[in-house]
């Protein structure tokens, strides 16, 4: 199973991404496709929600993961996508024209869920190094620039421990004097890794 980590540097400037690119460049094997993400935060508008319940729900859409959307609320997550399997359409379970789930929340479920915030990283860069795929993007919200986000994806073929690989990236960040950052390698459930849900969880952890 591929491992991932997400790093968010809040004390960055829009040009930190160029500095990061420069220090990373000696490790880069190839430059890969551009990518974008969008993290939406929803808040429950139900008044009498039990006090032990969380009011917040997140949905993350990643263009580099087939445009799939992960929606997370508390300990549960679902992955929704644009791909319809033959089984579903041929059985009449699906019409074959699915929409992303956050669209449904903002339209049909807006009596229960209100969108609060949208954090976006558009047109980020991806670099392949010998043992990682590093994706970097400047993050914006409606109020402006928020920081720099890095998504690290471990390469299965490389034998080096994932934690060590993450540390090398951390030391690179040190070089460009970005010592303060939030890092998440957490899983939603330790015993049961789920690539996409865990990745989305890491985004939520660092960006929230």
């Amino acid at each position: 199973m591929k491992q991932t980590a997400v790093i968010f540097i809040e004390k960055a400037t829009p040009s930190t991404i160029t500095q990061f690119h420069d220090v990373l460049s000696t490790h880069v094997i190839s430059v890969q496709e551009k990518w974008s993400f969008e993290l939406k935060t929803f808040r429950s508008s139900v008044k009498n929600i039990p006090s032990d319940d969380t009011r917040v729900m997140y949905s993350l859409t990643l263009t580099h993961r087939d445009n799939q959307t992960v929606t997370i609320k508390k300990h549960s997550a679902i992955v929704t996508g644009h791909h319809v399997t033959e089984q579903l359409t041929s059985n009449g379970c699906s019409t074959g024209f699915p929409e992303s789930f956050d669209n449904i929340i903002t339209s049909k479920l807006s009596n229960i869920w209100t969108q609060r915030q949208s954090i976006k990283g558009d047109f980020g860069s991806s670099y392949k190094t010998s043992d990682l795929v590093v994706r970097a993007a400047n993050v914006f919200s409606s109020s402006g620039f928020k920081g720099l986000l890095l998504e690290l994806e471990g390469d299965e073929s490389s034998e080096m421990d994932f934690d060590t690989k993450v540390e090398t990236i951390q030391s690179l960040l040190d070089e460009i004097s970005s010592r303060e950052f939030k890092l998440s390698k957490d899983r939603m459930k330790d015993t049961e890794p789920n690539f996409l849900c865990d990745l989305a969880y890491q985004y939520v952890k660092v960006l929230d």
Binding site: K73, V79, H83, G92, T95, K189, N194
Partner: protein
């Protein structure tokens, strides 16, 4: 938003064979057997949900429908052809109860994709020639988290289970997206561990066309024409009609309106 155009009818058990051969001849297509499981959830009745959203738009509370196909290996039968449909006349389903129970409560390890859809009440209007119902849909490919199941997620979303049912039947894919299906419906009662056949003694007939975009008037007209053609061809054999739209109202709390 997808628009579904449909017409409905019903036949008794004895007419099934003849209907299948009629439609086969008419369409030149083979009959295909299908089986689906549907789970319908409603907003938690204990929640105090406003009728309007923050933009002060009226948003009705509607049911959410989760649908998944049932693979044939889960159906206990000697042969897998449309003929098994006429042998299923009892309350018991030829499917293991445990399997159905696990469909929406199991974790992601062995889950298969499901569709999640929200439907509107069919369009009003006296001279509707076909039933027009719009819906939005999303495909759930996986679930995750420490409480990983569709059911757990729906609960977090603010939805609780309402009812579940299984459809087993035969369908024909006719020209240009027209689907003709003949099926029976079993209500799956989770608390009493029982199933009961709602369509006892007969089959429900549904002919439909899906139009990808509600605004695609040309496709809507084309689909309507196809359905009316079919209706005309089957005239004096089965009467395809537009059902009462209130029967297909997925909104909550409107039963007293009628």
């Amino acid at each position: 938003m997808v628009q579904r155009l449909s017409l409905f009818s019903a036949i008794d058990d004895d007419s099934f064979e003849l209907l299948i051969s009629t439609i086969s001849t008419l369409s030149g297509r083979p009959p295909v057997i299908f089986a689906n499981f549907s789970h319908v959830a409603i907003p938690d009745p204990t929640y105090d949900i406003e009728k309007v959203n923050v933009k002060n738009q009226l948003v009705e509370q509607t049911r959410i429908r989760i649908m998944q196909d049932i693979p044939f290996e889960k159906i206990k039968a000697n042969e897998y052809s449309y003929r098994i449909c006429s042998t299923l006349t009892k309350d018991d389903l030829p499917i293991e109860r445990d399997y159905l129970k696990l469909l929406i409560t199991n974790s992601s390890m062995d889950s298969r994709p499901s569709s999640l859809s929200i439907w509107d009440i069919p369009s009003a209007g006296k001279d509707r020639k076909v039933c027009m119902q719009s819906m939005t849909e999303s495909v759930i490919s996986d679930t995750g988290g420490s409480e990983s199941s569709i059911n757990a997620f729906l609960k977090e979303l603010g939805y609780v289970p309402d009812y579940q049912f299984v459809q087993i039947g035969t369908k024909f894919y006719m020209e240009s997206g027209l689907v003709f299906q003949v099926y029976k419906i079993w209500n799956v009662n989770d608390s009493e561990e029982s199933t009961n056949l709602i369509t006892k003694g007969g089959f429900l007939i549904e002919a439909y066309v899906n139009v990808a975009k509600i605004t695609d008037i040309e496709a809507v007209n084309q689909g309507t024409k196809q359905l009316l053609n079919l209706k005309r061809e089957l005239r004096e054999y089965i009467d395809l009609v537009v059902p009462d739209r209130k029967c297909m109202d997925p909104r909550i709390g409107h039963l007293n309106d009628f």
